[in-house]
């Protein structure tokens, strides 16, 4: 259970969680491309609605999604301000003019568009990939999507295996770190007070045992894999074979239809265009 608690994965039984990870990777990419195709008020409005719809479909609490948006709120505000002040739109209404500052209505539009685009991209990648797909499923999906590259001698399987092992051990190592920190605290270690140098020094009794146990674990894992005849990706079959089902194709169709709709609306809908 702990191994999937890592990262942003949020367990739930929504349809989004049950889609094939390969399809979700493709849909995620298509959705991000669509974010960049939007050009006017109507298409950006639809994009914002679609992001909301994605959250609802995947049954992820809005609170959790907002947390990841909060992480980049400053970048967003910064880009919005840049757009407001620096958009030169002589053809558009001048809303405010003070010394060298000129704010045009086009600037406000651009700022709003950029914010919607960034937020939708974050929600899109989150919903299609990290929130609804475990890291292990993601690497599996990626490995299979990239497997044609094997022809070009790209060691796709080896990279995927490295990723899988790394992901598998991150929670273990976090747990181990917590245990060692607790053990040293029991001997009076203090990680939260004192100067920076003092706090860095306090970490030595944690890092040394952590390195030693990581090397030991790596050795043991290598032995265990060798004992079970692991010898790379060639001819290796898998326990959970990914199979596309009808709902995967329906989902893909919907995303493509959505992108096409946006492109058409860009052409025919009136109003300010970015």
């Amino acid at each position: 259970m702990k191994s999937i608690a890592f990262g942003q994965y949020y367990p739930s039984n929504s349809i989004m969680h049950r889609l094939d990870p390969r399809m979700k990777i493709i849909m995620g990419i298509l959705y991000i491309v669509t974010c960049f195709l939007c050009k006017n008020v109507i298409t950006f409005g639809i994009l914002a609605l679609s992001a909301l719809l994605l959250i609802i479909i995947s049954k992820i609490p809005i609170k959790i999604v907002l947390r990841s948006i909060k992480a980049i709120i400053f970048i967003m505000i910064f880009t919005a301000i840049l757009n407001i002040f620096w958009t030169k739109g002589e053809d558009y209404e001048l809303l405010l003019s003070w010394r060298f500052i000129n704010i045009y209505s086009s600037g406000l539009y651009n700022a709003a568009f950029i914010v919607i685009r960034i937020v939708s991209m974050i929600i899109g990648t989150g919903i299609f990939l990290t929130y609804t797909t475990t890291p292990i499923q993601l690497t599996d999906g990626l490995e299979q999507l990239l497997s044609p590259l094997k022809v070009l001698k790209v060691p796709v399987h080896e990279f995927a295996m490295m990723m899988t092992i790394a992901l598998r051990f991150i929670p273990t190592i976090i747990e181990e770190t917590e245990k060692i920190m607790a053990a040293q605290k029991a001997r009076g270690a203090d990680f939260s007070n004192g100067s920076l140098v003092k706090r860095a020094k306090a970490l030595i009794p944690v890092l040394i045992p952590l390195f030693i146990s990581s090397f030991r674990r790596a050795g043991e894992l290598a032995t265990a894999m060798t004992c079970r005849c692991y010898r790379g990706g060639k001819g290796r079959t898998r326990l959970n074979v990914l199979r596309f089902s009808f709902k995967d194709f329906v989902a893909l169709f919907l995303v493509i239809a959505f992108g096409t709709g946006i492109v058409l609306l860009n052409i025919y809908a009136p109003g300010y265009t970015m």
């Binding site: 181990e176 060692i180 053990a183 605290k185 029991a186 009076g188 009794p205």
Partner: protein, 285 residues
């Protein structure tokens, strides 16, 4: 007044996430000085969580921990002082060794306490003696020791702080019988020499029977029974009902009684059993 009192303590891991686990649910126990108390219960019953409360490594979601009648969380800034008074040896403590020599590693705790050199040296020698580490082992790297010796070095590291309450989480897990014996003897020596309250977590009924005077039985995040050793082990049926069983010698005595061999039923260790059987045959040793 008890040395350590746990008052109606509850604890939830990962509270507020889908991974919530209620590890302790309304636990109350009293731990006395000058005695060895055993905490027993199957895996996941909350033993480790409970003992990490004793020295303030985790803070109860609900309830209080009293040391000599004072709430250890009354002033959160003074929690490190509590950690010197309540020494906790965590499960598999050998993974916390980090210094270049065993000596330096044992000295880590006392050094953090701010003791002077002479006092530290004396405590290192003293605690190494408790656990039976040789003089020449002290100069070695902890990573060159055997598994059992590493474990003993780690325990000595806590004993060197000379805690008034010594808590050990499964100190004998994964050791051979000889290694087990030397660790328990070391713990007993510490208890006798200092009069500390000693708490041992284990799931071996036989070790509990041999070394502990009081027993606390945990089951599903709650305290199922507390009492003197003899009281607890005489309630064999209840222990079996929560999946724990009784010491092997107690079980043997029961089987013999069923076949009509009349032996006392309050036998818990091999030594007691030996004495009882010799007496049955009317012989002296």
């Amino acid at each position: 007044m008890s040395k350590l009192t746990v008052e109606n303590v509850s604890f939830i891991y990962s509270a507020g996430t889908p991974f919530e686990v209620k590890a302790l649910d309304g636990v109350s126990v009293n731990i006395e000085a000058n005695r060895i108390t055993g905490i027993i219960g199957h895996t996941g019953s909350g033993k480790s969580t409970l003992v990490q409360m004793f020295n303030g490594l985790i803070r109860p979601t609900e309830g209080r921990i009293l040391l000599d009648g004072e709430d250890i969380w009354a002033d959160a800034k003074k929690i490190s002082a509590v950690r010197y008074r309540v020494g906790l040896v965590m499960q598999y403590p050998e993974y916390q060794l980090f210094e270049e020599t065993v000596e330096a590693d044992i000295a880590y705790g006392p050094k953090n306490m701010g003791l002077d050199e002479a006092e530290i040296t004396q405590r290192v020698i003293e605690s190494a003696k408790f656990v039976g580490l040789e003089e020449q082992d002290l100069k070695k790297s902890p990573f060159d020791l055997s598994g059992g010796q590493k474990r003993r070095a780690a325990i000595a590291g806590i004993m060197a702080m000379r805690p008034e309450v010594l808590v050990l989480d499964e100190p004998s897990a994964g050791l051979d019988p000889a290694g087990k014996k030397s660790i328990f003897e070391g713990i007993r020596k510490y208890a006798e020499a200092t009069g500390a309250a000693v708490i041992i977590v284990s799931h071996s009924m036989d070790d509990m029977a041999k070394y502990c005077e009081d027993i606390i039985v945990m089951s599903h995040s709650r305290v199922a029974m507390t009492g003197k050793r003899n009281e607890i082990f005489s309630r064999g049926d209840e222990l079996e009902a929560i999946g724990l069983g009784v010491p092997q010698m107690t079980y043997l005595m029961r089987l013999l009684a069923q076949r009509g061999i009349n032996l006392p039923q309050d036998i818990f260790t091999v030594d007691d059993a030996e004495a009882a059987i010799i007496e049955l045959f009317g012989g002296a040793k």
